[in-house]
Amino acid sequence: MKLAYWMYAGPAHIGTLRVATSFKNVHAIMHAPIGDDYFNVMRSMLERERNFTPVTTSVVDRHVLARGSQEKVVDNITRKDQEEQPDLIVLTPTCTSSILQEDLQNFVDRAQMESKGDVMLADVNHYRVNELQAGDRTLQQIVQFYTEKARKRDELPTDKTANPSVNIIGTSTLGFHNQHDCTELKRLMADLGIEVNTVIPDGASVHQLKNLSRAWFNLVPYRELGTMTADYLKQEFAMPVVDIVPMGVVETARCIRAIQRILNDQGAGVDYEDFINHQTLNVSQAAWFSRSIDCQNLTGKKAVVFGDNTHAAAMTKILAREMGIHVVMAGTYCKYDEDWFREQVSDYCDEVLVSDDHAAIGDAIARIEPSAIFGTQMERHVGKRLNIPCGVIAAPIHIQNFPIGYKPFVGYEGTNQIADLVYNSFTLGMEDHLLEIFGGHDTKDVITKGMTADTDLGWSKDGLTELNRIPGFVRGKVKRNTEKFARDRNISEITAEVLYAAKEAIGA
């Protein structure tokens, strides 16, 4: 048992539902008690979805506990098959069905005999995988299901498309800015003269899946969703994969060069260097932004990054490599994929934190006292409490992270969006100077930070007065350093003199 208030990644069935409902005309049936269909609320609220979420529950109640589901699951599947005529029904196990250990595969087999559409059981175990792993697995499972089905019927195409083409794998419902990212990636592919063969799972029909092998390669823009599918397609059809996250100027260029290599191996004879140059220098403003005076003021400022693997790694590289910001700590909650993350970021930050305990992350932020945080909604709230600005870069997210306006994180427009996000998160340069010169327009009293070590030292009246003159955003740091200074020298009361002595001694 674990005492927990907050979790970064949801339970497994959420991942399965995200993938299943991303497809067109696929219905998910949860084997779950009343109230577990909270996914529908999230989709309807966060995505402001206009259509009914295609998820229903085969309710587990007392009777099911006593007698087993018996006909119930089968009836629910066949009923939904008739009502909605979906192409595919995905029976989704939950934590409850994991321990009931009913033979759900048997229900699926029986329901399949009576259903027009296809029926399958999502192969996820609540106690072994989380939302992200389950989503990855479910997508691979669906792709495999339809690939094998087509192969049996001898419907698998053997040719490639005439022109270079790509499958974009991994954009899904409730994914962080996924819809905008998808549009941006399609634009990028169009600019590169690459046809988009299929985008899965978001907006795809299962009938398209048999044609996946016609693409020249697969692009997996996110680390968390699509990797298993791409591996499967590589195994089955020897399809090459580009899994470089095209986030930030350098990584986007790297991604495009990888695509170029793969296409040229297949005889396309393309050269994207001019395109990369043109985009970098003229279209994306991010490269110019890095060079501009504004960005100079960010040099060496401290930042903390935390999120999922994809976004935390990309942001760390952007901050450190493209903006000269000092990333003190980069972290991820994707513990199951820790090695990848360490490998990606270890050159770009001082320390790496792999944890899904929000308190550990909060404590680390309090200790480091960065000028800005880039994290999830949880870090945003930590920032609020500590008076540190935060840009949200990854799920878990709230409704404000599903903007209506066009805000991709990938590709060249993505670099612009990220530059804005970063710049707006730090205190603006001139404001910064003015606050320093005039002691700030902030007249709030000293806020004792809940997460820093409690103080056992007294502050004299004049000491406090001086402390209050220090701008709010560095006051905590000055206070802490001064107290450390005093403690080291056995000073019990901090006067203005001590404060300044500390400043002189350790540059607090």
């Binding site: 048992m1 109230g35 321990i99």
Partner: protein, 470 residues
């Protein structure tokens, strides 16, 4: 709608498949931990439960709430770990960090299925760590949404103190219960006697149901006007202030979903239950007070005028509702009372969906509903227990409903199809009881109508391309 002499009909009850959307009953911790200020709620369940609470409670999660998950891991499920040792470890940690006056264990589906004996473990652990542990099985296998509060209050009812038998008659009179003792602290006996005289002499009355403190005050004062004294309230602001309950006390519910609590008070604590409609809407509040008065043989004073005044002040909202139809998909058990209020406002109501219908506990409310329909000359609604949301959506489209009260899962899709909706959960979290808050209920109910009124000439009501199969 014709006003032909209504035939006295019977209410029509149906039961569907139970495939409907509602909140998990563990959501009750969100409002109960705030109500009972010295409590700590520990939900013993899985990531699924945690994910629900985290998302459903929104920003509240960041306020360092006095609730947490005891998240079960594979070792707990397969009994490789001892439930007792694990719970002890967590509860000691809670005691160390928060030192609450009570820890409430919320049992979930998982603890039911693996048959974790929470009721058995609690007394043992309680004596070991020295903090009361109350067990409530608020799980989705058995209950819906607000019924979670019912399971917690039923468990708390067992913990309400009984008064020690007092030796002399005289002392008993001036010292009836702990609350009174508390209230009279530092005052002279004459002053108390003076205050006592404001009340009619009636047996002690305990109210049950968790409502925000302002509502407690409002309802208490409302009864005081009739000379009725509220001896205590379950739950109180603090666990340590739970009311004295003795055999022969009268109990009165304020919410329609408290049938287990009512049963516990009657059977275990030997209380007499006053079966009244619920104080929702001015009509409900008046009927609620009148019923208590009649039980105590009191002639109600000025109630009719009070109700009339409230109705007059509501006219601007009522005029928006009059003649329109309302459909309850059903998810929080407030449906019967709200429908009765809306029908009194002049609405028609073809269907009331409800997760669970206790015809005995809600008996008086059902009678008032029937009477209201007859007086307003509208057909009786069909009451659908354990509704089927899919079928309901078909009926909503067929019947051309003006306002659908529904959960968030269906609200946006219905709005996109040009159907006005009100999110039902708001009625659970808003202050809706008593004369004072009648306006708040209508503020909620008319909001979609008022908003859509201002958009109606824009031609933006149908916002889905091909009419998706509902």
């Amino acid at each position: 709608m014709t006003l032909a002499t209504p035939q006295p009909q019977e209410l029509n009850f149906e039961c569907e498949t139970g495939n409907y959307h509602t909140f998990c009953p563990i959501s009750c911790v969100a409002w109960l931990y705030q109500k009972i200020e010295d409590s700590f709620f520990l939900v013993i369940g899985t990531k699924t439960c945690g994910y629900f609470l985290q998302n459903a409670m929104g920003v509240m999660i960041f306020a360092e709430p006095r609730y947490a998950m005891a998240e079960l891991e594979e070792g707990d499920i397969s009994a490789q770990l001892s439930d007792y040792a694990e719970l002890k470890r967590l509860c000691e940690q809670i005691k160390r960090d928060r030192n609450p006056s009570v820890i409430v264990w919320i049992g979930t589906c998982t603890t039911e299925i693996i048959k974790m004996d929470l009721e058995g473990l609690a007394p043992k652990l309680e004596s070991e760590i020295g903090i009361p542990i109350v067990v409530a099985r608020a799980n989705g296998l058995d209950y819906a949404f607000t019924q979670g509060e019912d399971t917690v209050l039923a468990a708390m009812a067992q913990r309400c103190p009984t008064q020690e038998p007092t030796p002399a008659e005289e002392t008993e009179k001036g010292d009836r219960n702990a609350i009174k003792k508390l209230l009279s602290f530092g005052r002279k006996p004459e002053e108390i006697a003076q205050e006592e005289s404001e009340y009619v002499d009636h047996p002690p009355l305990v109210l049950f149901g968790s409502v925000p403190d302002p509502v407690v005050t409002q309802l208490t004062l409302e009864l005081k006007k009739q000379g009725i004294k509220v001896s205590g309230w379950l739950p109180a602001k603090r666990y340590t202030e739970l009311p004295v309950i003795e055999e022969g006390y009268y109990a009165l519910g304020v919410n329609p979903f408290l049938s287990r609590t009512a049963t516990t008070l009657m059977r275990r604590r030997k209380c007499k239950l006053i079966g009244a409609p619920f104080p929702i809407g001015p009509d409900g509040t008046r009927a609620w007070i009148e019923k208590v008065c009649s039980v105590f043989g009191i002639e109600p004073q000025g109630l009719e005028e009070r109700e009339q005044t409230i109705w007059e002040s509501l006219e601007d909202y009522v005029s928006l509702l009059r003649g329109k139809s309302v459909f309850f998909m059903g998810d929080n058990l407030l449906e019967i009372s709200l429908a009765r209020f809306f029908i009194r406002c002049g609405m028609t109501c073809p269907e009331i969906g409800i997760p669970y219908m206790d015809k005995r506990y809600q008996g008086a409310e059902l009678q008032l509903l029937q009477k209201t329909c007859e007086e307003m000359g509208v057909p009786l609604p069909r009451i659908v227990e354990k509704p089927d949301n899919y079928n309901q959506l078909q009926r909503i489209q067929e019947q051309n409903i003006d306002l659908v009260i529904t959960g968030m899962a269906h609200a946006n899709p219905l709005e996109a199809r040009g159907i006005n909706t009100k999110w039902s959960v708001e009625f659970t979290f808003a202050q809706i009881h008593g004369f004072t808050n009648a306006r708040d209920v209508l503020e909620l109910a008319t909001r979609p109508l008022r908003r859509n009124q201002s958009l109606k000439d824009m031609g933006w009501s149908q916002l889905v391309k091909e009419e998706a199969k509902v």
